[in-house]
Amino acid sequence: MNIYLNKKENAAAGAVALDDLFLTKDMPTTGGSKMLDGYMSLFDAEIVSGLAAAGYEIGGKVNIGEFSIDLMGESSYYGACEKDGKLAYAASEALSEGAGAVMCLDVNGTPRRAAALYGKVFVKPTYGTVSRYGTIAVACSGETVGVMADTAAKCGEVLSAVAGHDDKDGTSLSEAECAKIKNGAEFRKITKIAVAKSICESADDAVKAKLAKFREVMGANGVEFTEVDDTVLALAKTAWNVCMSAELCNNVSRLDGVKYGYRTKNYKTIEELYTNSRTEAFGDLLKTAILFGSDALSTENYMKVYDKSLRIRRVVSERLQEIFADFDAVLMPACGKDSYTMADVKADKYMAFKEALYTAPASLTGMPAVVVGGVQLIGAAFSDQALLDAAAAFEKEAK
C-alpha cells in the first residue's frame, strides 16, 4: 500500500505525519501530482514550524489524491491506497500503523470521509484557525488544515499546537477570535443537535446504522435530537463544486511547466510547452475540475454559475446560523456509503463531486466539523472545542 510518500525511518512511534499538500524543506512536496513529482520547497509550512515548536516530531508525508479533491486518494500519481479490495486512505492507514496524528488539508472533505469510513476522528476547525501558509493552494476559500487521530483528545491536543493567528495568511483569524476558540466558554456543552433530515436519509444502510448508534449513545447521555429541514444545506454541494473547481483551475494554472515541476519533452512553442506539460502531468479528475472551473468563470457563465454559487454560499451560511440559534450542532454523515472501491470510482467519475453532499456544507461555510463514530457534527463558528468535547463524550459512552 502506498501510505507514505516519504517516511522518516528513525521517527519514534506517535510522530505526526503530514499529507503531501504541506510544504517541507527536507522532503519533497508533490500534492499527489506528477506535475510536482520531486518538488522541493524553499520553505516549511507554518504548521511544520508550529508542530516543531510544540515538540512534535514529523514522521513523514502521506499519500493523497491529486490536490486532494478526489474521493479517497485514488487519483494520486503514486497510486491508490487499497486494502481488501476497497479504497483505503493513506492518512487513516498511517494512524493504524502507529502515527500519532496526521495533518490533512481538507479540500473536498476527503479526510472527513476517510475518518468516517475507518473509525478515526477528524477535526476540521473553523476556517482561519490554522495558517495555510505553506500549503499548496487548491480551493482557498474553504480548504482548512485539520487533524486526524484515533481520539478526539489527540485531535484537540495537536490542533492547539498549530492553531493561532498568522500574519502570513490574510485569512487567518484575529488574535481575539483565536482566543475565543481557545477559551470556548461562549459555547455551552452540546445538548441539542439538529439532524439534517434528507441528507441523512440519502445515505446507505450501513451509514444510517452509524447515525442511529450515535443518536442512541448521545441520547442516553441526555442529548436531544430534532430533525430539521435541510433543503438549503443540500444546495451546498453544487455551490462547493463550482467554487472549488473555479479556484482550483486558477490555483493550478501556475503549474505550467515553465518555472518548476514537470515539463514535457514534446514542444516547439510556448503554447505547446504549456499544453503538453499539463496534458501529460495532470490526471483525469483534475482535468475535469479544471474544465468545469474554467467554464464557471467564463464571461458567459460567471453570473449564472460562479456568482450564483457565491450567493448560495451566503444562503447556506444564513440557514446554518438560523439552525444554530436553536441548536448546538448539526448531525449528518460524512459520506453516503460504507465503502468505496476502485471500480465504483471508475464507473462514476463524478463520485467525488456527488459525495460532496455530505462535506460541502462545512467546506462552503467555513464552519467547524468533527467526524467521530462514522458520523459528522457541524458546529457554529468558533465552537470547535464544544464539538471535540461532544466527540470525546461519544467515545467514552460508546465503549
Binding site: T29, R132, G170, N250, R254, K259, S294, L297, T299, Y306
Partner: protein
C-alpha cells in the same frame, strides 16, 4: 471631405512609489541584478499567500483623491487569468469588481481652452516580469524583479479629442501624482506608460467609430505621433475606403512611425476574473480616509498662484519651483527659515538645479534639507559667510547630511572673520613678500593693488569682509 473628430480614452499605468512589492516584502526598486528582488511569492511558487502592502492602498487612495475621485470604502482584489511566461502565477491580481477609486476628473487647458477629462476608475494591481531573449543560446529567460511591483491604472472616459489634449492630460496626471508622491511618473524608466484607445467619427455624430488600442506607449513624443498617425489612418479608411477598420490592438513602431496590427493570439482571451479568496475585502474606515485626506498636498497650480501673489515671486520662478514637490518642500522650509523668497528661489532654481544636472538627477531627486538651505542663505545675507563660500557649502550639502550649517561653516573655516589683528597679520606678510606689487602700486599702477588684495583674500580663505580688507590693505601699503 467630411469633418471628423477623434475620440480618445487613455489607460495610464503608473508605478506606485513604495519600498516593497504589493503582496510580498521584496524590494520594489527600479534596477538591480536580474532576479535579485524575488521570493517564492513573487516567483509563483506554491504555498505563499498574498499579504496586501497597506502603503499601496494609501497611494491608491491618494491618487484617487488627487484626481477628484470617489473612494470605494470597501475595495477588493480580484484575479485575472492568462498564460504568459512573465506572469509567474498565470494570473494577475488586480481590481475588477470594486476598484479603489471611481468617478473623478482632471481639468486640462489647451489652445482650445479649458476642459475636464473624466476618470472612470483607478485600480491597483501587480506588474508582470520581463522576458529577456538571449541571442547567444537562442533562449528566452525571465526576470521576475518587476513581478508584483505595485501599479495603479487610471482609466479615463473617452473625453480626449487630440494629441494636444492627451499631452495636457498626461502632464496634469504626472504633476498631480508626483506632487502627492504617489509615483515618480518617469516614462523613461517605465514608471508611467499608457494604452491609447482611439476612434474617429463624423463631427457631431453621437455614435462611436471602430476603436483601436495601442498598448504600452512610453514617451510623450511617441504618443503624439501615434495619435496623429492613427487619426489619419482612420480618416483615410473612412474617407477613401483604403482598408476596413476592425477593433484590434496595435503596436506603435516609433522608429518607422507606423502602427501595426498585433497577432490576434496576443490579444484574444477570456480573463476569468473572480474575487481573490485569499485577500479579504479592504475596509477603509473614516480614520484611514481622513489620514490620507490630511496628507494631500496643495495642487501645483494653486501653489504657483500663491507663490506669485503672496511671496511676490516672478511667474517664471513660481513655474520652475512648482514643477517638483521636492523643490516646493525645500523652498517652503527654506523660506520659513530665512524669510527671503526671491533669494531662496534663486538658490534653488539656478544653483541647486545646476548641481543636480551635473549629477544627472532631476528636481524630484533633491535631498538637501530646506531648513539647512534657509540657514545657509541667512548666513550669506548676514555677511557671515561669503557668497562664494556659501556655494561651496551648498555643494557639500548634496554629498553629506549637514543639519547645522553654521557649525559646519565654523568647522571648515568658512565664517567671515572680524579679527582685524589676524587680517592685519596676513596683509603685512603679503606686503612684505610681494615688494614688487607694492612698488608698482606706489608708482601708480592701480591693478597691482588688486593682485595684493587677491593674495590676501586667498590666504584668508575668503572669510573676510572685502570692504574691511581693502581699506586696511591700502592703509598698510601706504604706510610701508
Amino acid at each position: 471631405m467630411k469633418k471628423y473628430e477623434t475620440v480618445i480614452g487613455l489607460e495610464v499605468h503608473i508605478e506606485l512609489a513604495t519600498e516593497s512589492k504589493i503582496f510580498c516584502s521584496c524590494s520594489a526598486k527600479f534596477g538591480g541584478e536580474q532576479n535579485d528582488h524575488v521570493c517564492p511569492a513573487c516567483c509563483g511558487m506554491p504555498g505563499m499567500l498574498p499579504i496586501v502592502n497597506k502603503h499601496v492602498v494609501d497611494l491608491g487612495m491618494t491618487a484617487g483623491l488627487m484626481l477628484n475621485c470617489d473612494i470605494n470604502r470597501v475595495t477588493t482584489f480580484d484575479k485575472k487569468s492568462y498564460y504568459y511566461p512573465d506572469l509567474p502565477c498565470s494570473y494577475q491580481t488586480t481590481q475588477w469588481f470594486s476598484p479603489v477609486a471611481v468617478n473623478g476628473y482632471v481639468p486640462i487647458e489647451t489652445s482650445k481652452g479649458k476642459k475636464n477629462i473624466r476618470i472612470k476608475q483607478i485600480h491597483m494591481e501587480e506588474d508582470a516580469g520581463k522576458l529577456v531573449h538571449d541571442d547567444w543560446t537562442d533562449t528566452t529567460l525571465v526576470d521576475f524583479n518587476r513581478t508584483s511591483v505595485p501599479l495603479c491604472e487610471i482609466v479615463s472616459q473617452p473625453d480626449l479629442s487630440s494629441a494636444e489634449e492627451v499631452v495636457a492630460y498626461l502632464e496634469q496626471l504626472r504633476s498631480r501624482l508626483r506632487f502627492a508622491k504617489v509615483s515618480g511618473c518617469r516614462m523613461e524608466q517605465g514608471s508611467m506608460r499608457c494604452d491609447v484607445n482611439l476612434s474617429v467619427r463624423e463631427e457631431g455624430s453621437d455614435k462611436l467609430g471602430v476603436r483601436t488600442e495601442m498598448k504600452n506607449m512610453n514617451s510623450i513624443s511617441a504618443i503624439t505621433r501615434a495619435i496623429e498617425y492613427e487619426t489619419a489612418r482612420h480618416i483615410d479608411a473612412l474617407e477613401n475606403g483604403t482598408e476596413e477598420l476592425v477593433q484590434e490592438t496595435r503596436r506603435w513602431d516609433d522608429i518607422k512611425g507606423k502602427s501595426y496590427a498585433m497577432r490576434n493570439k496576443e490579444t484574444a482571451g477570456d480573463y476569468r476574473y473572480f474575487p481573490d479568496p485569499n485577500i479579504m475585502p479592504i475596509v477603509i474606515d473614516d480614520e484611514w480616509f481622513d489620514r490620507i485626506k490630511g496628507t494631500l498636498p496643495e495642487l501645483p497650480e494653486v501653489k504657483k498662484e500663491r507663490y506669485i501673489s503672496e511671496l511676490s515671486l516672478s511667474e517664471y520662478d513660481a513655474e520652475q519651483l512648482t514643477q517638483s514637490r521636492a523643490l516646493c518642500d525645500c523652498f517652503e522650509a527654506a523660506y520659513e527659515e530665512c524669510g527671503q523668497a526671491k533669494e531662496v528661489a534663486n538658490w534653488l532654481i539656478s544653483d541647486c538645479m545646476n548641481i543636480l544636472n551635473k549629477k544627472q538627477m532631476i528636481a524630484d531627486d533633491l535631498t538637501i534639507g530646506g531648513k539647512a538651505l534657509g540657514q545657509l542663505i541667512k548666513l550669506v545675507l548676514d555677511g557671515k559667510v561669503q557668497r562664494g563660500n556659501g556655494k561651496k557649502i551648498l555643494s557639500a550639502m548634496f554629498d553629506e547630511d549637514i543639519t547645522d550649517v553654521e557649525q559646519y561653516a565654523k568647522d571648515n573655516n568658512f565664517i567671515v572673520s572680524n579679527d582685524t589683528g589676524a587680517i592685519e597679520a596676513v596683509i603685512k606678510a603679503v606686503v612684505a613678500e610681494d615688494t614688487r606689487s607694492v612698488a608698482d602700486y606706489k608708482s601708480g599702477k592701480e591693478k597691482a593693488l588688486q593682485a595684493l588684495f587677491g593674495k590676501c583674500m586667498r590666504q584668508l580663505k575668503g572669510n573676510c569682509d572685502p570692504q574691511v580688507l581693502r581699506t586696511m590693505l591700502i592703509d598698510i601699503v601706504n604706510k610701508s
